[in-house]
């Protein structure tokens, strides 16, 4: 009994160190596992973690206006629509190139307007997707290296650092509708890797699972390789 109490006291000490960020990865994983099972330690953590947060928040620095403005300008340059995602960058380059070619050929301003409208539509779509993904009411389902995000009738796959598909192959998404016995093919991804945010077209609330596999170009009618992930949305 006394041993059990001593050992729990030791665990409570570790919970404090976990809240402070002074445990190695392996020790932190042990504490995390324990917290999932122990209400007493969870209560201790719930008390100590905000205390550590307070230590950090108290460090709010005074910054002179010039430094503040310079830092903000630098950040805004980094997140300008041209660099939001590789997709946006490529789309912009393609659109600008098309505009230059059209000008060289003496094409009409209608062509220019069309290209600019396409660029704006792409930007608006990205903004709308990011708003959905970051919305507090969005539901997030973790997958390895990312998440499936559902907001209203929209469903997104967000993958960070996705490796390129094998040569001559593409990634393909699959959805499972409620009551269905087989996955339905969804879109293929034209990505060559990197960060991917993709909306699954027509994926309404009846979709109860999402999967991704590697398929031949153009996609398959049913998965031909073991899915990289299958995520239930429940």
């Amino acid at each position: 009994m006394s041993d059990a109490l001593d050992s729990h006291e030791e665990m409570l000490d570790l919970v404090a160190l976990y809240a402070l960020g002074s445990l190695g990865r392996a020790e932190a994983a042990t504490v995390q596992g324990h917290l999932a099972e122990c209400a007493r330690c969870r209560a201790e953590y719930a008390m100590l973690r905000p205390t550590v947060d307070a230590l950090a928040l108290a460090e709010e620095a005074e910054l002179d206006a010039r430094t503040s403005a310079r830092m903000k300008r630098r950040l805004k340059e980094a997140i300008s629509p041209r660099t939001v995602t590789r997709r946006a960058t490529i789309a912009s380059i393609v659109a600008v190139a098309a505009v230059l070619v059209a000008m060289w050929l003496g094409a009409t301003t209608v062509m220019l307007r069309g290209q600019l409208a396409a660029m704006r539509a792409n930007e608006a779509k990205l903004t709308s997707e990011l708003a959905d993904i970051a919305a507090p009411d969005a539901r997030r389902y973790a997958i390895a290296g990312g998440a499936i995000v559902r907001r209203g009738a929209h469903l997104y796959v967000v993958l960070n650092e996705l490796g390129p598909p094998p040569p001559g192959r593409v990634y393909q998404l699959w959805t499972l509708a409620r009551g269905a016995k087989a996955m339905t093919p969804s879109i293929t991804l034209t990505t060559t890797g990197g960060s991917v945010v993709v909306g699954i077209p027509g994926a309404g609330p009846e979709v109860t699972a999402v999967a991704m596999s590697i398929e031949p170009p153009g996609g398959s009618a049913q998965p031909t390789t073991k899915p990289l992930f299958v995520r239930k949305l429940e």
Binding site: E10, D13, L14, V15, A16, L17, Y18, A19, L20, G21, S22, L23, G24, R25, A28, Q32, L35, A36, R42, A43, Y45, A46, M47, L48, R49, P50, T51, V52, D53, A54, L55, A56, L57, A58, E59, E60, A61, E62, L63, T67, S68, M71, K72, R74, L75, K76, A78, I79, T127, L130, A131, I133, A134, P136, A138, R140, A147, V158, N160, S195
Partner: protein
């Protein structure tokens, strides 16, 4: 998150992020780099923030990133991270964080006995593990653990008292 919202978040919290990074690194230029990295992470992967107090989350990300820089790690850390996920449902918005007053927090930390405040400061702002703290202070590991826990509990009590309306 649209650019306007992101800008508002930046305006509200960049001083906190910068302040934490500066405290850890002691170098203005490096702190600016960490600030940039933290907000770029929020912009590119907003889903990494899973609820709770956004300022506190950004501060934790800043602390971890700054500690990585301090330890000379480019990207992946293997030691001494503050958990950035809430992970447990019963961790809710907390009065101590909601009613934060920087000067009172610093005062409460100063009011702790040094045997508690020094290990806490070394752990959080120095990014030191429990073993490193024990070694540097030449104090048994068990003593360090209990001093940190007691210190945080005492700090909590102080903050609760000063946060009272």
């Amino acid at each position: 998150m649209d650019e306007k919202t992101f800008e508002a978040v930046y305006d509200r919290y960049h001083r906190v992020v910068y302040g934490v990074a500066l405290r850890v690194l002691g170098d203005r230029s490096a702190a600016e780099d960490v600030t940039q990295a933290v907000f770029l992470r929020l912009w590119h992967t907003p889903e990494a923030f899973r609820g709770g107090n956004l300022g506190a989350w950004l501060a934790r990300v800043a602390r971890n990133r700054a500690v990585d820089v301090l330890r000379g790690k480019a990207r992946y850390s293997t030691t001494a991270e503050v958990s950035e996920d809430l992970a447990f449902a019963d961790y809710v918005e907390d009065e101590v964080v909601a009613r934060i007053d920087g000067e009172r927090v610093r005062e409460a930390l100063r009011a702790l006995p040094e045997e508690q405040s020094i290990p806490i400061t070394m752990g959080f702002f120095g990014g030191a593990t429990q073993q490193e703290i024990a070694r540097r202070l030449e104090i048994p590991l068990g003593t360090i653990k209990s001093r940190i826990r007691m210190g945080l509990r005492r700090l909590r009590a102080e903050l609760e008292a000063t946060a009272a309306p």
